[in-house]
């Protein structure tokens, strides 16, 4: 069961957030499960989440064993608490893709990678009508930004892809 999905960019802003509150209705498999997209209430939670992941990541980078010739980067893959599990993926461009799920499935890295390479790239990067850098001005580059992805193709493709995994 997937609880929520977040995307953060390199300016520490949350640029997309999707939360599922109820499981999909098994009687009507075509109905979109309820939840919120880019809601303002989740702003605070987004900041907490990003702060947590950012600080944990910087610790683990310090703890990484550095072999002199090739630096192997130590990236966080998953964080578990007693109630849920957080799966993360950081791209080379500084984007964070984060899924909060339950304990059923252990590894979502393939899912996150697919979302990045096929859904995000196709609908946001190749799209000339969508900004590539969501911070509108230098002020928004330190976590103050508010612009989010509101691209209907992106949202629909993402829903279709994650729908099957909601339960």
């Amino acid at each position: 069961m997937i609880y929520s999905f977040w995307i953060f960019d390199k300016h520490c802003n949350c640029i997309f957030e999707r939360e599922w509150t109820l499981g999909s209705n098994t009687n009507n498999p075509n109905a979109l499960s309820s939840g919120t997209i880019n809601s303002k209430q989740n702003d605070e939670i987004g900041k907490l989440l990003y702060g947590m992941i950012f600080s944990l990541n910087s610790i683990t980078q310090k703890l990484s064993t550095s072999i002199s010739d090739n630096q192997i980067n130590n990236n966080i893959r998953s964080i578990s608490t007693g109630k849920f599990r957080i799966h993360t993926m950081q791209t080379a461009t500084g984007l964070w893709f984060i899924l909060i799920t339950d304990f059923k499935q252990q590894n979502y890295s393939q899912v996150l990678h697919y979302i990045y390479s096929h859904i995000y790239i196709k609908h946001v990067v190749h799209n000339f009508l969508s900004p590539y850098d969501f911070a509108l001005n230098p002020k928004e580059q330190r976590g103050q930004g508010v612009k989010k992805i509101n691209n209907r193709h992106f949202i629909n493709t993402l829903e279709a892809f994650l729908q099957s995994m909601l339960n």
């Binding site: 997209i37 880019n38 196709k122 609908h123 190749h126 799209n127 000339f128 009508l129 969508s130 900004p131 590539y132 850098d133 992805i149 509101n150 691209n151 209907r152 193709h153 992106f154 949202i155 629909n156 493709t157 279709a160």
Partner: protein, 298 residues
């Protein structure tokens, strides 16, 4: 293979034809390839580039006009050398950041901002908008003419330019030109055999990822409103293939003023719409002068 018979002039036997075809395909395979994604991005980048060029040129003119007004009052200045000095100073700067923002935005604006502002400026400054469209179209024309020259010399036995009439030229555009530039063929070609053609591309590859970004969740907005706005934003992007078609016709003997080419949006059949750009493109090509075959140059 059926398409082999298209342009065949019958002077080769079938075996020779098959052999030549195979050689042609092997040759094509051996050519260095271009990354398709990058190529498409570069083609799309032509549109914001044209906007920026137009901005920079008009800003320069405005700047010069301002200084002309300043020096009008004082006749003791040598006006010519003053203007020369000003243009030289302007040429010196490496970071050509605009001193004053035009209503079409800073030169260093990101692509999407430029495109949004462009569509807003249609009503304000029609002249500039048309200039930009013309610029894009000209680049397309250049691409078209050069491409025809390249394709003539590829030893493709299916192409025989000696006996091409207008219909065959249009078929050539639909199949070969579109295949080389966009990776697919035109879906539909209609003609009235009197010089008017309709080329329909239901999934124009350069536009498939395009989708407008709104400030609120899309499900809350009126869908028709979004579609209209999207179509308006994407209009400049259609000038490129229009230019390519015109360029091909130009190099095969139909001068620019005899060819009318317009692009419009058409609806896709329902099963093709799925999270991609919701409209197809229809190109209306009309040859105004008589459609008698022109003298072909080889």
């Amino acid at each position: 293979m059926p398409h082999q018979q298209r342009y065949n002039n019958g002077s080769m036997t079938n075996n020779e034809a098959i052999e030549r075809q195979r050689q042609y395909e092997m040759f094509q395979e051996s050519l260095p390839k271009v990354n398709k994604i990058l190529f498409q991005m570069i083609l799309n980048e032509i549109i914001p580039l044209s906007v920026r060029i137009e901005n920079q040129l008009t800003q320069g003119n405005e700047f010069q006009n301002d200084t002309k007004l300043d020096t009008l009052g004082d006749s003791s200045f040598d006006k010519a050398s003053d203007l020369d000095n000003i243009t030289k100073l302007k040429d010196l700067s490496i970071n050509a950041k605009a001193n004053s923002e035009t209503h079409l935005g800073n030169i260093s604006s990101p692509d999407d901002v430029l495109i949004y502002k462009l569509s807003q400026s249609v009503d304000e400054n029609e002249n500039k908008y048309n200039n930009i469209l013309k610029r894009i179209r000209d680049i397309g024309i250049k691409i078209g003419t050069k491409l025809v020259n390249l394709l003539i010399f590829t030893n493709n036995i299916n192409l025989n330019f000696k006996e091409m009439d207008l219909l065959l030229i249009m078929k050539f555009i639909c199949r070969d030109v579109w295949k080389h530039v966009f990776g697919k063929q035109i879906d539909n070609l209609k003609t009235n055999h009197r010089g008017t053609f309709y080329l329909t591309d239901l999934e124009y590859p350069l536009l498939q990822s395009f989708c407008i970004e709104t400030n609120t969740i899309p499900s809350q907005l009126n869908e028709e409103f979004i579609l209209n706005k999207e179509s308006k934003l994407v209009e400049p992007f259609l000038e490129l293939p229009v230019g390519i078609i015109k360029g091909v016709l130009l190099s095969l003997g139909y001068p620019l003023d005899e060819v009318i080419c317009l692009a419009t949006f058409i609806d896709k059949p329902k099963e093709r719409i799925k999270n991609s750009f919701p409209k197809g493109i229809s190109f209306h090509v009309q040859i105004t002068k008589s459609f008698l075959p022109q003298q072909q140059k080889q």
